[in-house]
């Protein structure tokens, strides 16, 4: 661990100003990702600016009856907030799916969005990684890729974004409020994170010195929603695949019709993957198994899995259809029966 300087600030403008002046400075919020990376040598700042004293810890209802969550609200507090539990259960569940009770007590909302990939090669400074050291090469390609991307990856990087919360926020069409050297701007969560392309070192579109001050959720949507995480362990493990989905079904006609649907996938791409192709299939369709499979397949048609994560395409397909079945109150999935012969 390189030596670094440390200062604490209680003023957002001051925090931004300090970072703007110091290209080698970083913000420290909950620390659950940054301190890990300081120890691993993944990040080597000259100055750590502790923003835990910033007054960004409120959760308040907006004029449009949406919700504004301060960036320094801890993950556990956001998940336990009754307005979040009641109006955005998908977000609460996504938050509670992440990490552990202890880590959620420390992790901030802003920091959660900005956590970096869990790619083992990114975290290991003894192996090449374009994200950590641009131009050094991607070790994951041809290596251990169980937790890597099947959608939107590039020749230079196949990493995934590890956040559960961000997947729910993408499905919720949440907005990130950012304060930078040139003032405040608002960014849809879906546009905050980038695909790796030729610049995998950039996880987001944020510029150095920009500080997330809040998340804004649009007014609660009609319909049912949930977050489902598929992982190797029953808890305390990153997603292989996760699905955040909200579905609103119109039951008034002779046949039920999906009025609106929003789906985002986690564990499959460099960013929370908004499944717009699937949504397009669902919108206006009858909620049944065939529709759900079509929706999943429409989204996953673009999948380009690696040798070590080919299974994730089928796993995502199963996760999407299972979630949609649950949300539309359908009977137990019979998906397995259609493929029974394949097992024999």
């Amino acid at each position: 661990m390189n030596p670094f300087d440390y200062i604490r600030t209680t003023d957002t403008a001051d925090a931004v100003a300090v970072l703007t002046e110091r290209p080698d400075a970083v913000f420290l919020a909950g620390g659950t990702n940054l301190v890990d990376h300081l120890k691993l040598g993944v990040t080597e700042p000259g100055l750590v600016v502790d923003i835990n004293g910033l007054d960004l810890t409120d959760i308040e209802v907006l004029d449009d009856s949406g919700l504004r969550i301060g960036a320094m609200v801890r993950n556990s507090d956001a998940a336990a907030d009754m307005r979040v539990r009641r109006d955005y259960p998908m977000l609460s569940r996504a938050l509670l799916s992440g990490a552990s009770g202890q880590l959620r007590n420390a992790a901030s909302m802003g920091g959660n969005l900005l956590q970096r990939t869990r790619c083992v090669y990114f975290q290991d400074t003894s192996t090449p990684c374009n994200k950590r050291e641009p131009g050094s090469g991607c070790s994951a390609i041809g290596g251990y890729t169980r937790y890597h991307a099947i959608l939107g990856a590039s020749q230079d990087c196949v990493a995934t974004h590890p956040s559960d919360m961000a997947v729910a926020l993408a499905a919720l069409d949440a907005t990130v409020v950012v304060l930078g050297p040139h003032g405040e701007r608002r960014i849809p969560v879906d546009e905050l994170h980038r695909l790796p392309g030729e610049q995998p070192e950039r996880d987001t579109i944020l510029e150095h010195g920009e500080l997330i001050t809040a998340l804004e959720l649009p007014p609660p949507r009609a319909g049912r929603s949930t977050y489902r995480k598929i992982r190797d362990r029953a808890s305390y493990a990153f997603a292989l695949v996760s699905v955040a989905a909200t579905v609103d079904v119109d039951d008034s006609g002779p046949k039920p019709v999906i009025r609106e649907a929003a789906i985002a996938l986690g564990g499959v791409a460099h960013k929370p993957w908004r499944a717009r192709a699937a949504e397009a299939v669902l919108r206006g369709a009858e909620p049944n198994e065939k529709t759900f499979l079509q929706a999943a397949d429409a989204e996953l048609a673009a999948a380009e899995p690696l040798e070590g994560n080919r299974f994730k395409v089928q796993m995502a397909r199963g996760a999407i259809t299972t979630v949609l079945t649950e949300l539309t109150g359908g009977p137990e999935s019979k998906l397995d029966d259609t493929t029974e012969d394949a097992h024999e």
């Binding site: 120890k39 003894s126 251990y144 808890s235 796993m315 199963g318 996760a319 299972t322 137990e332």
Partner: protein, 690 residues
């Protein structure tokens, strides 16, 4: 030796005597011994898997803040012996595996040591490495030690003639012990004498290994280890980390040097279970009687030092069969040195054997329990000796009853619940009932009781408590009158806590010491009266095949659409002789089964052949079970005592809990889904619709 000890404390559910300190965090583990003015060590690791470090530039590190010394092969203290290549570190620039020690920084604070180690630059001369295990590897050879091959009858003809046969390949991956307390040492040299406060499963065996290498007489090396934060074999023999701490401390005489191996470093320094490839062929008559049993196993070993993970070991004695062939091979590769991990040999071997038995049951249309009953041998197929107590069938039948085996459908994919497929599986367990000679106990009368001294180890096994119970009954006094002392080479010799031999071996010494004490001092001894006694080899070992047995039952659920696999419940029924402390024994059985759950579902070191190291080398990426993975696990045992085990009537229980557990889960997964997984672990991928 059929005179069993009369028991009073033994058999009671005594609460752990070290418990109050442990729940508060006041028990002193290696790193926590108070020492004055310590220095901190951070190692320098090889970043190639084979070749040499042409130059090691330590100048920047030496100039860094707080650095007291930088150690490399160029300035490392001499060793008396370099025969053990794992321990003879820093002798040359040669590199045998990635992650090998090339040096160390010793500094005033841990942060300074870590930073300075980063400032060292190494230029490598890299050679092609080979870390890939395969069955037909040209370097494959019989291990230097081990049981040797077995050939009885004519396996090939018997297979050809068999009414039912299976011919399958199984594999177990690289697995890592990962005790929660990392391997940790404080080393201090003082006037030519070395003290190691460390974490070990045997202070005396560790001293016997290290003292000659370091050129010390035994009384010049003291090793202290009263509490050990788990080991599961990895702390059974000393690894290179202890040597690095010792050599570093020698460079700064009088100053204690602290070294806690990091979690990441543990994946290359402190041993692991070597992966195995298992080719098993079984032939049977229509009634399920096995006529041919062929098991060809290959395990990974290291070019640096051989360690054979003998998967074929349990095949020697497990089932009957007139025609048998067992071969064990190792492939030495450019990888870290494998070592003991809970039930070496038995744990991986019983994965292949017990899944194969399940396959044979399916192929022959016989219930898997009944198949095992029909192949239960009268005598040990390996030695021909009678068994001490072979109660495998009792475990299977009693266990089946308690588990509710009759609820199982023999047809896969028939039980489902809300999208989940549910299945049940069974597997046998076995482990040798060993007892080692040579431990010595010293008993001394004090003003208010008896001091019982023996350098045994408690790595969570319950030694502090169970051995106190044994001592109390040996002396025929209440346990409150016994003050046990363990974990220090200043105490009399004790053999290693390994191979499930610890309590049996140390108890033999305590029993001998108590007998001598009473003979010499009577029942009303004067304060200060003292005697000692030594454990002898178990004479029954020459006349009997000494083993414990058990049966594992498991119920799993697998999501039909997502492949997720979760364990509903596990039940283990064991035959292990007399149980010294039912409270701690249950914990040990359950603990072994829980590790078996990890082996079945989660654990796999991902060795990247391009780099030569395990890339998922931490506890976020190498998954061991978490609380939520373990719904319901229960263990029970047959009420029995084993006269052939000696006067205590007890056999070791540290390892049998893991043996067979993974196979039971794999067999349950097959029963749930109809998908036969032969390569551990059982990731959900295997169960996805195709």
């Amino acid at each position: 030796m059929s005179d069993l000890l009369a028991t009073s404390a033994i058999g009671t559910r005594q609460v752990r005597l070290d418990g109050p300190d442990k729940v508060r965090g006041r028990a002193t583990y290696a790193y926590e011994h108070p020492v004055d003015d310590p220095l901190y060590l951070c190692p320098l690791l090889a970043m190639i898997a084979r070749g040499r470090a042409a130059t090691i530039d330590t100048s920047a590190a030496e100039a860094a803040d707080g650095v007291v010394h930088v150690l490399t092969h160029e300035n490392a203290p001499a060793l008396q012996s370099t025969d053990d290549a794992e321990l003879a570190i820093l002798r040359s620039p040669e590199i045998g595996f990635r992650g090998q020690y090339l040096g160390a920084v010793i500094a005033t604070t841990p942060e300074q040591a870590r930073h300075a180690a980063d400032l060292i630059t190494v230029s490598y001369v890299q050679e092609d490495h080979d870390v890939e295990l395969r069955e037909d590897h040209p370097a494959s050879r019989p291990p230097e030690s081990g049981g040797g091959d077995v050939t009885v009858g004519d396996v090939d003809s018997a297979l050809a003639e068999a009414a039912v046969s299976i011919d399958q390949r199984y594999s177990t991956p690289m697995e890592h012990n990962n005790p929660m307390e990392p391997h940790t040492t404080i080393a201090r040299w003082d006037r030519g004498e070395l003290t190691l406060w460390t974490s070990t499963q045997g202070v005396h065996p560790t001293r016997s290994t290290l003292a000659p290498i370091l050129g010390l007489e035994p009384d010049q090396l003291r090793i202290v280890s009263p509490h050990v934060g788990g080991g599961f074999g990895s702390k059974g023999v000393p690894h290179a980390d202890m040597m690095l701490a010792a050599l570093a401390a020698k460079a700064v005489p009088g100053r204690p040097v602290k070294y806690a191996v990091t979690r990441q470093q543990m994946f290359s320094i402190t041993g692991y279970r070597a992966p195995t490839l298992q080719h098993i062929r079984l032939g049977a008559r229509a009634d399920g009687t096995i006529t041919a049993f062929a098991f060809d196993a290959v395990s990974m070993s290291s070019q640096t030092k051989e360690f054979p993970e003998e998967a074929t070991k349990p095949a020697r004695m497990m089932y009957a069969g007139d025609n048998r062939r067992l071969t064990q091979r190792v492939v030495p590769l450019d990888v870290p040195v494998p070592s003991w991990m809970r039930a070496p040999g038995e744990a991986p071997g019983m994965v292949g054997i017990e899944i194969a038995m399940d396959e044979l049951a399916v192929a022959s249309g016989i219930d898997p329990i009944e198949l095992r009953v029909r192949n239960d041998p009268e005598n040990d197929p390996d030695t021909g000796l009678p068994f001490n107590q072979r109660r495998l069938v009792d475990c299977l039948r009693e266990g089946a009853e308690r588990f509710g085996w009759d609820e199982r459908s023999s047809q896969p994919r028939t039980r489902r619940d809300n999208g989940w497929l549910i299945g049940m599986g069974v597997a046998s367990a076995t482990y040798p009932a060993g007892r080692q000679p040579g431990s010595v106990a010293r008993i001394r009368r004090t003003s208010d009781g008896y001091e019982v001294a023996i350098a045994a180890a408690d790595l969570g096994t319950g030694t502090w408590t169970a051995l106190t119970q044994v001592a109390a009954d040996s002396l025929d006094v209440p346990i409150e009158q016994v003050e046990l002392q363990i974990g220090d080479t200043d105490l009399p010799n004790a053999t290693v806590a390994g191979g499930s031999t610890g309590l049996a071996s140390w108890s033999a010494a305590v029993l001998a010491a108590a007998e001598t004490f009473r003979r010499e001092h009577g029942t009303d001894p004067a304060s200060g009266a003292q005697s000692q006694g030594e454990a002898q080899a178990n004479p029954a070992a020459e006349k009997f095949a000494l083993h414990s047995f058990g049966a594992h039952f498991a119920e799993v659920r697998i999501h039909a659409a997502t492949g997720e696999i979760r364990v509903n419940r596990m039940f283990g029924m064991f035959s292990a002789g007399r149980i010294v402390n039912p409270r701690t024994a249950r914990s040990q059985f359950i603990g072994g089964m829980t590790m078996g759950l990890g082996m079945a579902l989660h654990e796999k070191g991902e060795l990247d052949p391009r780099f030569g190291h395990v890339v998922n080398h931490d506890l976020a990426e190498y998954h061991v079970p978490v609380n939520a993975d373990v719904a319901e696990i229960e263990a029970a045992w047959l009420d029995e005592e084993d006269p052939q085990a000696g006067p205590l009537g007890a056999r070791g229980i540290g390892e049998i809990g893991i043996v067979g557990a993974a196979a039971a889960l794999a067999n349950a997964a097959y029963n749930a889904t109809g998908v036969r997984v032969r390569d551990l672990p059982l990731f959900g991928d295997a169960f996805l619709p195709r």
